[in-house]
Symmetry: C2
């Protein structure tokens, strides 16, 4: 049995973490929901019991075995070392530690062998990276990945609870025929619109989310030279991310063989009969655990390449579920 703290317990991902610990019957001896002082005092529900959310402090992590963090980069940079020094193993969902060479970055279906190398902190990858590498890894094992081109279709749930509310309110406003007012969540209207803007931009005009696709994919799969093109776009859907993926391999890999491999891969569900309108969709993936793969086909542009469409719940496999799966392997 383990004592588990969840930092960021009042956020979308934190709530999902608590729910998944319960659903998967994780051996929790004690659950400690933590948040910023602002959110402390509210209640979290675990196994039917209301537990008061405490403000995170120097003493929070005493006697905590596992600390699941989902509280943003700066909070994580401050509190993860404190928790690790207290003897907890931190599984952190922010981007703060992901590229630290001392921190394993883990998708359990891909690189579970990296977990034991941790020094108190394990990083949970970015949502869009997790679902992409989960689908690409079994194909890489078979045929050797050379190049990946990914365009994302990302839901507002990735931005948090406020963004879900924003999409709903803006959509209502547009449908009433009124003008959408500025709001603090996104720089522009998201309802019935597309924003090719996730995270800050570097000097070259590449976004943080795009660099995460490149760098985290390389680290998780231990392919430092992998060529990755990425464009990340926010779309007006509530939950689940879609991804258009083109993957080029060293060896020839037929769509049929790729389908077979993915059907038998851990954590993947293949939905692929497009003539019967069967393919992954966000409205079906929301609330589910799998990474859904469909539209697996010969790529029309590159040799030895496939294109496919990958959908997964960004709050579950893209965040909370992946973190709990790491905790299960500890």
């Amino acid at each position: 049995m383990r004592s588990v703290a969840v930092l960021g317990a009042t956020g979308l991902v934190g709530r999902e973490m608590i729910k998944i610990l319960e659903e998967r019957d994780y051996p929790v001896s004690r659950l400690l929901p933590l948040a910023s002082p602002r959110s402390a005092g509210t209640k979290a529900v675990f196994r039917g019991e209301e537990i008061t959310v405490e403000a995170v402090s120097e003493d929070s992590f005493k006697n905590i075995d596992i600390a699941l963090f989902s509280a943003g980069g700066s909070t994580s940079r401050k509190w993860a070392p404190v928790a690790a020094d207290s003897g907890s193993v931190v599984i952190d969902n922010s981007s703060a530690w992901r590229m630290d060479p001392d921190v394993p970055l883990v998708v359990p279906e891909v690189n579970p062998e990296d977990i034991p190398r941790h020094k108190g902190i394990i990083a949970n990858p970015n949502c869009s990276t997790i679902q992409a590498v989960a689908a690409l890894w079994p194909l890489h094992v078979e045929a050797g990945l050379r190049y990946v081109n990914i365009s994302t279709y990302q839901s507002v749930a990735g931005t948090g609870m406020k963004a879900v509310k924003t999409l709903k309110e803006q959509a209502e406003t547009v449908l009433r025929g009124e003008a959408v007012r500025d709001d603090e969540v996104y720089p522009h209207q998201i309802a019935f619109n597309l924003l090719p803007h996730i995270g800050a931009f570097d000097d070259e005009g590449i976004s943080e989310e795009e660099w995460k696709m490149v760098n985290e994919s390389r680290k998780i799969m231990h392919l430092p030279g992998l060529k990755v093109s990425g464009t990340t776009v926010r779309v007006p859907i509530f939950r689940c991310h879609g991804e258009s993926v083109t993957a080029q391999f060293e060896k020839d890999l037929s769509p049929e063989r790729a389908g077979e491999i993915l059907r038998s891969a851990q954590g993947i569900t293949v939905e692929d009969d497009p003539r019967k309108a069967i393919y992954p969709m966000p409205i079906n993936g929301a609330g589910k655990d799998a990474v859904y793969v469909g539209r697996i086909r010969r790529d029309t542009g590159l040799d030895n390449a496939l294109s496919m469409w990958v959908v997964s719940d960004n709050l579950r496999k893209g965040a909370a579920l992946n973190a709990v799966q790491i905790a299960e392997l500890l």
Copy 2:
């Protein structure tokens, strides 16, 4: 002065054609709105005047100089030869004639020189192809295009008037917390969802829209060997298509130089200052004429490659405007 018929005058694109003929002061001596017998009898408005929509017949095209068609493939296969035999020049927005070697497929900014080769029918390319090649062509002229990877984010306006209504009604239903009922426009809910399904699928699982991207791009740019990867996705926005484009060139082409070239290219507007949240968006492009290009950057995956984000109004440059521009060059 020319007599102009518009077949499909009651549809989204047909209406836009009539509006654009008026806006651009096309020298129309007579405007004849045509439609199927079902839609005949309704009114079209041109230069403030109501004109009764006539049912298309064998006699419709007598003394018509230019026949703008936007009425679907089978209607076009039936009536385009009739119009051409009557001496009209047909500019057809369906996919019926696009790959016919005797039919020029034209984007005026790219291959106006193909227009005079027509034998009575000129084809207007597919919406997603037009905006892609408009942005790619000036870069090709500079640096030689080798490979293009395009993922589309396509609005429901491309499907027609019913689909616009469907998105609106389904979104209202979802926002009321009710379940969306099946409807005839799409195989699944489109509101707050993504459908990687545009057109029918072939035996390999590649969609018609994806083949259009490949084959039409090659024909328009006269690059029969161009390597094109395409994934086409319907997204829950009303009007304008977005495209994530990765383009690899024979020669090195810096993002700065590409921006310069596109800024001086015909029909292109560059909106590219992502740190100030300036990039093309469907809500801004709707109702406008330009192909908007932004997020022009070094591609992180391929040598000599750029990635960019392209938005354009699929009813205007993607359909009606491009057709009228062809008519202007006749």
